[in-house]
């Protein structure tokens, strides 16, 4: 007989309660632990009203935040991924895709939409981290590729919002070639002199950093986002030392000259509109 007895079984938090954008009346900031009402938090674009911490949000929230009156036309809706290599690790990739679609209600880790930002036309490609860690597979590359085709046809500027752990391993070399594919299309956009804004959010690493995310005419980022090529754990293993404080944060990347500006999410729409207008006039 033990003195103490566990009354409740292990972890009792269900998946719904762990969602990145919590629902309910109250929001507790994961950084400063202070509380605000959910309404306040949502009205502040999911940025903590106390400490300014940016919660991770999805394409739906970004589209609503950026486009006038939250109105937009989705491009290439319903495009889904195949399983070119018949890949299976602990579970078949095919099943993983179906599960992720069911769980997130998304087709894959990227959505594209067309709309207006304070009267300026803009195509926005936005990654969803919920879908297999925002990993880049064929769908991500193809959606960017077709969105750029749309930009070229309609002479519209492009914004890509990156939020990704990098390549999708289950598509192996197909995933790798999405880096080449997106860069190929971006070279056409550059030739047409259509502005491309890259917004890097938490986290942006691996093959996404080493392709479209770093190729903006301007690169901007949300505060404190993790941005890098190799993940911090790998870098730490390589050098065998602890990493300096603030390593691979947006502020660090700005300081080293690879970003133009850090833009707070609540000011994102204004910034985009200003920049697009400046390019027009």
């Amino acid at each position: 007989m033990s003195w103490f007895k566990r009354i409740k079984e292990g972890i009792t938090t269900n998946t719904k309660e762990k969602k990145e954008t919590p629902e309910g009346l109250w929001h507790k900031c994961s950084k400063c632990k202070k509380i605000a009402t959910m309404q306040e938090h949502a009205n502040n674009s999911y940025v903590c009203v106390h400490c300014g911490h940016h919660d991770r949000i999805g394409s739906e929230e970004y589209f609503a935040l950026i486009f006038d009156e939250e109105k937009y036309t989705e491009l290439q809706e319903g495009l889904t991924g195949g399983d070119p290599l018949n890949f299976s690790d602990t579970k078949p990739y095919k099943d993983r895709l179906i599960e992720s679609r069911k769980k997130t209600g998304l087709d894959d880790a990227m959505r594209a939409a067309f709309g207006k930002v304070h009267e300026n036309d803009l195509v926005v490609c936005c990654m969803d981290f919920n879908f297999i860690g925002g990993s880049m597979g064929s769908v991500v590359g193809e959606k960017i590729s077709r969105a750029i085709d749309f930009c070229l046809k309609t002479k519209t500027p492009l914004l890509i919002i990156s939020k990704s752990g990098g390549a999708r391993m289950m598509e192996a070399a197909f995933s790798l070639m999405q880096m080449a594919k997106t860069s190929a299309k971006l070279s056409l956009l550059a030739k047409e002199k259509l502005p491309y804004i890259s917004l890097l959010t938490d986290p942006t690493t691996g093959g996404v950093t080493a392709s479209f995310a770093m190729l903006g005419d301007i690169n901007i980022a949300e505060p404190e986002s993790l941005i890098g090529f190799a993940g911090p754990r790998i870098v730490k293993e390589t050098i065998g030392k602890d990493l300096p404080k603030g390593f691979q944060t947006a502020e660090f990347v700005l300081e080293h000259g690879f970003l133009d500006k850090i833009v707070v999410r609540t000011q994102l729409k204004e910034f985009l509109a200003n920049f697009l207008t400046a390019m027009k006039n």
Partner: protein, 323 residues
């Protein structure tokens, strides 16, 4: 030959026996030549059997064989030593893991660029194990732009376990350096031919891998990640590297089957290191054939085809009307 891979054990044993027979022949007057002949035939037979049924993991091992020819070996052989090596990215330093310069192959000047590995501990450190820093990619781009300026075709030799994941590499923008190369290589006016001669690991390989023709040596591998790291991430242990090597479809044959490369260059039996002269000859022929075709096209056509080729890579499913 002193470096045998674990799966080459049967050959090692036979070759040891052959050596014993040869020693006997040398010491005594007994005629053992029929036995020697028999043993040699047996070795050839065993090699054929072994090397024509290699598993993906065995090929990965061959691609890393310590005796395998490296970029500079190819360049020196192809140019008969007529190679003007150039250095530096003009910004930070000279990356020893990335080499390049002008070289003459059969009367034509090419820009030859590649990742370089080292043969012994000291050399390996000097070459950073063939893992370039951002300045390596920027040096390669500088040389490619130089080639474009003087209208010289470009050949890249890819052989890297990956771009270096170090602290300074991050500070100096490893991601940006690779990304910039992908974008710029798409628009190069001159013909670009890329050959994966050993390891083609991920973005580090692709950073000099955008070509009108991308060829792989028979025992090279090319993928988004090494089998070991893939195993670590998906199974949380290195033990599944053989399974990962298979799942990744990283061999030349698989890559060709998936239309992700344009051709395969044959290697001598047992791998490139068994007969370097033969592999140099095969590579030279592949370059001649590829360049002959590419040089007939206009720059506009080559760029358009290059972009089209990479843009068509990927497998997606169109939405059905029912959805």
């Amino acid at each position: 030959m002193s470096n045998y891979l674990d799966f080459e054990k049967p050959i090692e044993e036979l070759e040891k026996e052959l050596q014993k027979l040869k020693d006997i022949a040398a010491k005594s007057k007994v005629d053992v030549s029929p036995s020697i002949k028999q043993m040699e035939d047996k070795i050839t037979e065993t090699k054929k059997e072994l090397y024509t049924h290699l598993s993906p993991w065995q090929r990965v091992q061959l691609s890393r064989h310590p005796n395998r020819p490296y970029a500079l070996d190819y360049i020196n052989a192809l140019t008969n030593g007529n190679f003007i090596e150039l250095h530096g990215d003009r910004t930070v330093k000279d990356d020893k893991a990335m080499i390049g310069g002008f070289g003459d192959i059969d009367g034509t000047t090419y820009m030859l660029i590649g990742q370089q590995k080292g043969r012994n501990t000291k050399e390996r450190q000097y070459r950073n194990f063939g893992m370039p820093n951002p300045e390596g990619y920027r040096k390669a781009l500088r040389l490619m732009k130089l080639a474009e300026k003087f209208n010289k075709p470009i050949i890249t030799f890819i052989d890297t376990p990956g771009a270096y994941p170090g602290l300074e590499a991050e500070e100096r923008g490893q991601g940006e350096a690779i990304a910039r190369n992908l974008l710029e290589m798409m628009q190069l006016n001159v013909p670009v031919l890329c050959i994966i001669i050993g390891e083609g690991a991920s973005g580090g390989a692709l950073g000099i891998g955008i070509g009108d023709k991308v060829l792989m040596l028979e025992n090279a591998w090319y993928s988004v990640i090494s089998p070991e790291n893939c195993s670590t991430i998906l199974w949380r242990t290195w033990n599944f590297k053989e399974k990962a090597a298979e799942a990744l479809k990283l061999t030349a044959t698989d890559m060709m089957g998936n239309h992700l490369i344009d051709g395969i260059i044959a290697e001598p039996l047992g791998g490139a290191h068994n007969n370097p002269a033969e592999v140099y000859k095969n590579v030279k022929e592949a370059i001649a054939a590829g360049m002959k075709q590419l040089s007939k096209q206009t720059a506009e056509k080559r760029i358009a085809d290059r972009i089209e080729k990479f843009s068509s890579m990927g497998v997606t499913v169109e939405p059905t009307a029912a959805n």
